[in-house]
Each structure stands twice: as C-alpha cells, then as structure tokens.
C-alpha cells in the first residue's frame, strides 16, 4: 500500500517531467557545457585522466543534478500543489520517497547520457567494468538524491532557493562523493573493485542507509512542522 503510494507520486512527477522535459533538457544542456568547458580548461591527456576521471565525472553529476533536485519541490509551489499533496492521504514520508524515486530516475538518466558524452570528449573507456560502475553510480546517485530531495523540501519556501540548495547540499555530499570519485576513477582505469576499495562501497551504502532513514524521519518536520 505504502509502496503503491510512493510509486504513484513518483509516476506523477516523472509524467510531468516527461511531458515538459524542462529539468531534463536544462540539466543535459548544462552538463554538456560543463564537460566541454572542463575539456578546454584541463586539456586532458591519458595520465591526467587516470587520476581525475572519477572526480570530474561526479562534479558534473553534482552540478547538473542540482538543477533537477531544485525543480523537485519548486514545481509544487504553483497553485498550492504542495498543500494539496500534504492534505492527501499519502503519508509525508511516502511523498518524500516518491519524489526521491522520481529524482533518482531522472538523475540516473542524466548520468548515463553524461557518461557517454564523457567517454567521447575525454577519450575514456567505460565499458570495461560497466557492472561495477553502474553499481557505484547507483549508490552515489541515491546519496545525492536523498540529501538533495530533503534539502529541496527544506529550501522550497526561501527567496534564495537556487543558491541555498547547493550551499547546503554540497558540503554534505563530501563523504559519498569522495567514495564515489575514488571508486569511479579506479574503475575507469580498469581496476576492479578489490579488497582495497570495498571499504568505499561500504561507506556509500552506509551513507545511503543512514541518510534515507534520516530523510524519512524528518521530512514531516520539514514540510509540516
């Protein structure tokens, strides 16, 4: 029942997004521009790519992802949609998870496209460890989604919403982003996830679990009070 409610909310968001494609287009355009700018700024050679590939990729995900996450609750402000949602029989935690799932789908789509662009622009082979890479992306993106969604809800009523969301979210993303960047760099270099790296996967998983629980627990406080 609860799951069905979450999925309904997620489907609503995804449908709205699919019809307008606002956030997706904007973030895709933004990420492409950033990738091109980075390739001009850094003039990548294979040695440098060996060290920085993961870091660069996740930076792009972070920047472009902020656009998607911002829209998540901002979209509900018009016509008092947020109040309507809060008044509906869907529990607030269900609303949060539903929106998080929708954001997750959008972010993963964005990231897969970015990955392809990244491979082309920076001459990086990513098909090698694709399975492990997808797992790392999945875990890291969920971390970004869950923190971003709760802070999107938090900043929805502020004047400086577009500024406050990154300012609050990015420092909090340091632990999972570090883990994701390290893992991605080593995966893109062709090394599989071994006993040296498994620690970072645990960090990602732990972060995901803890912050999902925190988000579900406090979304009520944030939205309703």
């Amino acid at each position: 029942m609860f799951l069905r409610q979450c999925l309904t909310v997620a489907a609503k968001d995804l449908r709205a997004e699919w019809r307008t494609k606002e956030a997706l287009n904007a973030s895709l355009a933004f990420s492409t521009v950033i990738l091109v700018l980075f390739s001009f700024a850094l003039d990548p050679n294979p040695e440098m790519m060996q060290e920085f590939s993961g870091g660069l990729l996740w930076l792009v995900f972070l920047f472009a992802g902020a656009l998607v996450l911002n829209r998540s609750f901002a979209r509900e402000m018009q016509n008092d949609c947020l109040d309507a949602l809060l008044a509906s029989p869907v529990p607030v935690s269900g609303l949060f998870l539903g929106k998080a799932l929708a954001n997750y789908a959008l972010l993963m789509t964005l990231e897969l496209i970015c990955l392809a662009e990244f491979g082309v622009l920076f001459n990086v082979r990513w098909l090698g460890n694709i399975g492990a890479l997808l797992i790392v992306m999945a875990l890291g993106t969920w971390a970004l989604t869950v923190v971003g969604t709760i802070f999107s809800a938090l900043t929805v009523n502020l004047r400086l919403r577009e500024v406050m969301l990154p300012v609050l979210v990015y420092p909090m993303m340091v632990p999972p982003m570090m883990a994701a960047m390290i893992l991605t760099t080593s995966l893109l270099n062709g090394d599989p996830i071994g006993p040296g790296n498994i620690l970072w996967v645990r960090v990602l998983a732990g972060f995901d679990v803890i912050f999902t629980l925190l988000g579900v627990a406090f979304i009520d406080t944030v939205l309703v009070g």
Binding site: I150, V167, M178, V203, I210, F211, L214, F218, T221
Partner: protein
Amino acid sequence: MRNRILLLLTAAFAVLIAWNLKHILLGLPDEARQDAIFRILYFHAPAAMVGLTGFGVGMVFSGVYLATKNFYWDTLAASTTEVSLMLAAINLVTGSIWGRQQWGVWWAWDARLTSMLVCWLIFAGYMMLRRAIEEPDTRARLSAVVSLFGTVNAWFVYKVIEWFPRLQHPGPVLSFRTGGRIDRQLETPFWWMVLAYILLAVILVMIRMRQESVAREIDSLRRLAHA
C-alpha cells in the same frame, strides 16, 4: 544577576588565559621541542575540541527544541553553533599557519583540517539559512533539521577522510588519545587551554542569548506598534 555572572566569568577567563599564556610561552621546557611553533598546538587543538563539541551540543539543543517547541532552545542552539563556528575558524587558521611553517604550504589536505573545513562549510550554511528565513517558527524548525543532518554528516566526514589515502597527515601527529606519550608537564597547559576556550564559549553564548532576547522584545514591540 546575569551580568554579575558574566563579569565573573570574563574575569576568570582573563586570568586563566593570561596565566596559561605566560606558562606556555615562558614556562615550558625548551628542550622538549626544538622550535617554538609547536606551542601553537595549545591554541589549535583545544579550539577544535571545543568547537566540534559545540556543534554536537548545538545539535542536541536543536533536538530539544523540536521536542519541546520552546524557542529558548532554538536560540541556544543557534548561539552555540555560531560560537563553535568561530572556534572552528580559529582551528583552521592556526592549522594553516602551522602547516605553512612546517610543510611550506598554506593548506595541506590532511584529514583533520579538511574535515574541519567541511564541518565549517556545513554550519556556515546553517547560519546562512537562518539569515534567509524571517519567520521564527520556520527558521527554528528548518535550522534544527540542518543542524541534525550536519552533525551526522560531520561524523561521517571525519571517518571517511581518516581512511582516504591521499590525505594522510604529512607531519607528526600529536594525538592525546593515545595517552602517555605526552610529558605531563606539556599536557597540563593543554587542558587549561581547553577550559579557557570553554569559558570563552560560555561567555560569548551568554552575550548572544541576551542579544536574542532583546531582538525578540523588539519583534513583539514592533508587532504591538503595528497593531
């Protein structure tokens, strides 16, 4: 009454810091360490200890606010976090200067400094958020949530950066947790410094609390005037 306590605490702080400074600068045996710069540890590490504790205490106060909805706790949380932000800044700047002297760089990406920097950024965001919200109820509620998330995150950051290979502390680490490594003579001023910082924090929080109650009085008077 409150003013008298404040005055007493300030006097205690002044005496303590003067005595401790004298002891640190002149009293410590010189043959223990060759260079004078290590004395900066006495300002660097206690600031971190008290600052980080302050952030945690702020989170606790935020939690109490959420449970009781009494604004007193929200004000206390904000004041404590603000003062801790100042202490974290002291830690960062003294750490940077120490690093410049020891390793030749203004900033070394080592575990402790970086995790403190991220902590500082998280709670600076907290202060920015508070400034952006005008309604006291919303402000208290939302900043309490940020404080909670921020403190959990700060713990995470510390753990993660400890494991990050590139960020190993390039120089000697004085870890008081290992215990027994530090000469008793060297250790005592350290704990007095911690006490001094705690006193300083309490004094500043008390001043800040008084300002907040004045601000609340202004708010209510303004509402009365407009009614």
